[in-house]
Symmetry: C2
Subunit: 411 residues, 2 copies
Amino acid sequence: MIMGREEVGQRSETVRRANLSAIVRELHLRGPISRSELVAWTGLTRSAIRSLVGDLVAGDLVAEEAAVRLGTPGRPSPLVRLVAENAVVLALEIAVDSLAVATVGLGGDVLWQRRVERLRGHSLLEEIVSDLADLAASARSRRPADETPIGVGVGVAGIVSRVDGLVAFAPNLGWIDVPLGDRLAEALDLRVPVAVANEADLGALAEFRRGAARGADDILYVHGEVGVGGGIIVDGRPLSGIAGFGGEIGHMPINPAGRACRCGSVGCWETEVGEGVLLARAGYPVDGGSAAVDAVLADAAAGRPQALDALREVGRWLGIGLAGLVNVLNPRRVVLGGLFSLIHPFVADRVEEELDRRALAAPRRLVSVVPATLGVDAPLLGAAEMAFDPLLADPAAWLGPRGALVQLESA
Amino acid sequence: MIMGREEVGQRSETVRRANLSAIVRELHLRGPISRSELVAWTGLTRSAIRSLVGDLVAGDLVAEEAAVRLGTPGRPSPLVRLVAENAVVLALEIAVDSLAVATVGLGGDVLWQRRVERLRGHSLLEEIVSDLADLAASARSRRPADETPIGVGVGVAGIVSRVDGLVAFAPNLGWIDVPLGDRLAEALDLRVPVAVANEADLGALAEFRRGAARGADDILYVHGEVGVGGGIIVDGRPLSGIAGFGGEIGHMPINPAGRACRCGSVGCWETEVGEGVLLARAGYPVDGGSAAVDAVLADAAAGRPQALDALREVGRWLGIGLAGLVNVLNPRRVVLGGLFSLIHPFVADRVEEELDRRALAAPRRLVSVVPATLGVDAPLLGAAEMAFDPLLADPAAWLGPRGALVQLESA
């Protein structure tokens, strides 16, 4: 809470750093903006903005473009934009069916990306790390030879300790307490921080910053795949819990007399809404994977009753669980991602019906349920956003003594 | 995010205000502390601390006491303490069975308090407001005639819109969309802010600052009474949701094939763990109230099987619901308040058993479940804490031009 240390000079340095952070964050989230708009938005003087933007230009994080006239009176104001190529991050994802990589520039421009299929099932850490390192090398080979990412973000379908990148539990991979972050940092050998997080938490972050939850400060992102995960944003900040394990909404007991869950409990929410139970109800093999899900959707589009009934039942349980979470979290928006964005057209009515029936009227009337807009790449884009966070929090730490961009030492 | 406006002078003013806030907050939460300890804790210089404390002394918020020698070398350092009597708040509570009032001084000293019984059942807003105004008058008559509270905090067993103090839903009172905050502000006529919140949210705040959850940043407070409410603290900040309705954990669907709930849904958590179902299982009238709860506890202490079985069943469902919340929130501590702190000795084993069985191992091993330590008064003390928050956030706004404490205008 204390903001200054030791000297008045350092105190105003604190304010300058916070202002640099606010400007870079705004440019990152909203795109290019004129200097006049920055003045209006920040309430700082023209000269203060000129000085702050000047620091960022000297550090090659920002460029100013020819003045644009906006149709308003007065002198035209230079347009301030981030230089995406001068601060890039590497994003990686371990999904159930695929591995993915992206190089993303500051401001959110995806400069290059690739997704490759992976066979479902248990995997050795070394195999996954080796495959991810190959993907990373492939991504880097598409970029200038002297470019080093400023950070690496990794999403994984599992619960992850944020402190050390330890994957505590990933049933799809068969992992318990696996040191993914450390091993990946060694294998990539980039000397930059490697941050690891749960894929649903990252999907939430991406949809919050750039997708269906933009503009809302309290959101719940629900990610369906084999399992069901959640990402929760409270008052603009991710709810991660004390160790990063928060958001495991798939393991709320919702039908304690119901089916056994992979986690060892009985009647968890994912036993009623996950991919396996949808496929079983629709008459497909539980382990049919995305091909079987596509078949169910095709059946439903063709009006086949078994598929429609299966979707309705999943929609009913989806609504029941969401009602509880709406009561607990009072969110503005619920974003359905992964499997749930695919089935949204078939289940939306049932979800709304259960919310009407089971959520308290006051939070119910304030919430809307929408499908994700970033599709399957939401967790990958969220991994990139996570990797930008240290730079967004304190861009001044990245500006060298003469303004040149410097690398943070790996933690 | 932007911290300065317009001029460098105002920027350093921003830092000064933040530092004053940090000092007052520390004194409020930790008690008296020597000036040397403030220097060590803040990292500010001795002269900066002397100046900041001097402002607070001039404003009569703080006093310095004779230097104390701590057994360490060097000059003894003056002890800095808050002047509790110079910034008092009025706390009010509308519980199911009682109304309560307290006058609390800065630092958390309860200067006077009273709790009066109230008949259960629906109540008119005007009756409750009139009773609370009488209690407030009675509290003020015990204090110096020229003392005006700096704020009023009100706890109510219902879900409350934080913005305007509207009670959206309070089934015990029979209230839907009742403007408690506005009416109470009129009736008290104190020209200070009247903040209204849910009693479980306030219980969480009190246990977090002064009770069983002290020292933990991620907590879940579970309050049992006729209904079941929750207060959630995420990374040191209350989870209130977009309108203050968050934390309604009593209305998570947990047994959708179960009992009808007062909220209109079926199988909410409170239908399996609330007072009514405990009494029914133990062979007492559902509406027997606290006398019947006492009888169940006496039966259990005497080893009567029906009471013990009833408590075990409530404990089992308590553990099932907590397992889900531990998975969603990854809290450090779960605090059981109200009814649940009373029954804790009889249900603790079952709760732990269900957590072992149903919570994911990673968050499970990090959480402890403890009874509340502030007892029945936790929500009342939390109401006082809420009323202090504007002062804690910006004490400088309360210091007049010549340092005299000034009243905030009511919002």
